[in-house]
Amino acid sequence: MNKVVANADEAIKGIESGMTLMLGGFGLCGIPENCIAALVRKGVNNLTCISNNAGVDDFGIGLMLQQKQVKKMISSYVGENAEFERQLLSGELEVELIPQGTLATRCMASGYGMPAVYLLAGVGTEVAEGKEVRNFNGKDYLLEYAFDSDFAIVKAWKGDAQGNLVFKDTARNFNPMMAMAGKITIAEVEELVPVGELHPNEIHTPGIYVHHIFQGKDYEKRIEQRTTRKKN
């Protein structure tokens, strides 16, 4: 069962304008840099993108916003991005803001075959508008629906030809849930290892969730907030 494709362009071949995409990552950490570059090259547009953040002006999903490829962003936090703010205020871009945990859980719900779950976040706020409220054990919850996507695009640390994935540190974030929630899931990895090298106890995303995988290249892995301390 070999799911390896040559590169990002090959992996995203099936992505067409108007589709709904999920893109893994938190801020610029653990984002599928190669696939984003390929989407910019391909020039598909009118996309609905589900991603916790929208990148920065000149990196991550920001690159797709620059090219006006995104019709709608579904995110939890979209600061740090002037072009984004411009498109939003001018009405060029639709935005749906969702609490971060709700976003993660709606992706997971899809991968777990749960059409809807009841969650706490946003009760009594404008996030609750139009949503079903239901009381369990004296507390109100919102009915939240699973997110589907035509393609989920994730970035892993290591992966194998069967699609098994391992993530590194906090670059894991949304990637495992989105990998579960794509009708088709693409994984780009820093290191494509021989099948059998990943220990079966340590795999974060089993290959059944992944359809195409490729060895990424030229990772920039930009840091948004470089905070350090001095030795002594």
Binding site: L28, P99, T170
Partner: protein, 218 residues
């Protein structure tokens, strides 16, 4: 005068109890980590997927794959664990995090909080704040008592879109420490050099001042 940001953080750090799992928001709350009292062991949760957040890395040792929820480069500690965003907010919603400290634009005297949106002006989004305030057992707000225009941020009703309802348990500002009780903001301590009259003047919401309000001790 009132407290500076470091002092607000220092005062909040005294609320930490041994064995607590704690989520610290961006801004003043992050500084709380610098003042954890001796003998108090807490584990810091970062909602992007880490338990056991350590200090900033030494220069040259930053790792782009290891950041906190404020996107700052950080380190791990012995016993740290990584997990995905669904599990991270799962443990928050399930009440496993003992204390959440976060900033706010406004707090109401019934515990409502607003900190994610200024209509027409600011649209950054709520991030994980709505999940945290909806679920945490104990929420402390760290903020300035008034906004840059000098208007009170302790209100009878929030004017900005809400982040969560009836959830804030305690507020620590540059002027004092306040529990939120049925009667409103109950002043427990005032900052050194700050009078109760100043607190009264700068608090728009219902304020309860007991007879035994103490001056804050560090």
């Amino acid at each position: 005068m009132g407290l500076n940001k470091e002092q607000i953080a220092q005062r909040i750090a005294k609320e930490l109890q041994n064995g607590f799992y704690v989520n610290l928001g961006i801004g003043i709350p992050t500084l709380v980590a610098n003042y954890i009292p001796d003998g108090v062991n807490v584990v810091l949760q970062s909602e992007n997927g880490l338990l056991g957040m350590g200090p900033f890395p030494f220069e040259g040792e930053e790792d782009a794959d290891l950041i906190n929820a404020g996107k700052q480069t950080i380190t791990t500690l012995p016993g740290s664990a990584f997990f995905d965003s669904a599990m991270s907010f799962g443990m928050i919603r399930a009440g496993k995090v003992d204390l959440t400290v976060l900033g706010a634009m406004e707090v109401a005297d019934n515990g409502d909080i607003a900190n994610w949106k200024i209509p027409g002006k600011m649209v950054k989004g709520m991030g994980g704040a709505m999940d945290l305030v909806a679920a945490a057992k104990n929420i402390i707000v760290a903020m300035q008592h008034t906004n840059p225009k000098g208007e009170s941020k302790l209100l009878s009703k929030c004017t900005l879109p809400l982040t969560g309802i009836k959830c804030v348990k305690k507020v620590v500002t540059d002027l004092g420490v306040f529990d939120i009780i049925a009667d409103g903001f109950r002043c427990l301590e005032h900052a050194p050099g700050v009078t109760l009259d100043e607190i009264k003047a700068k608090t728009a919401g219902r304020l309860v001042i007991d007879d035994d309000v103490k001056e804050m001790v560090f």
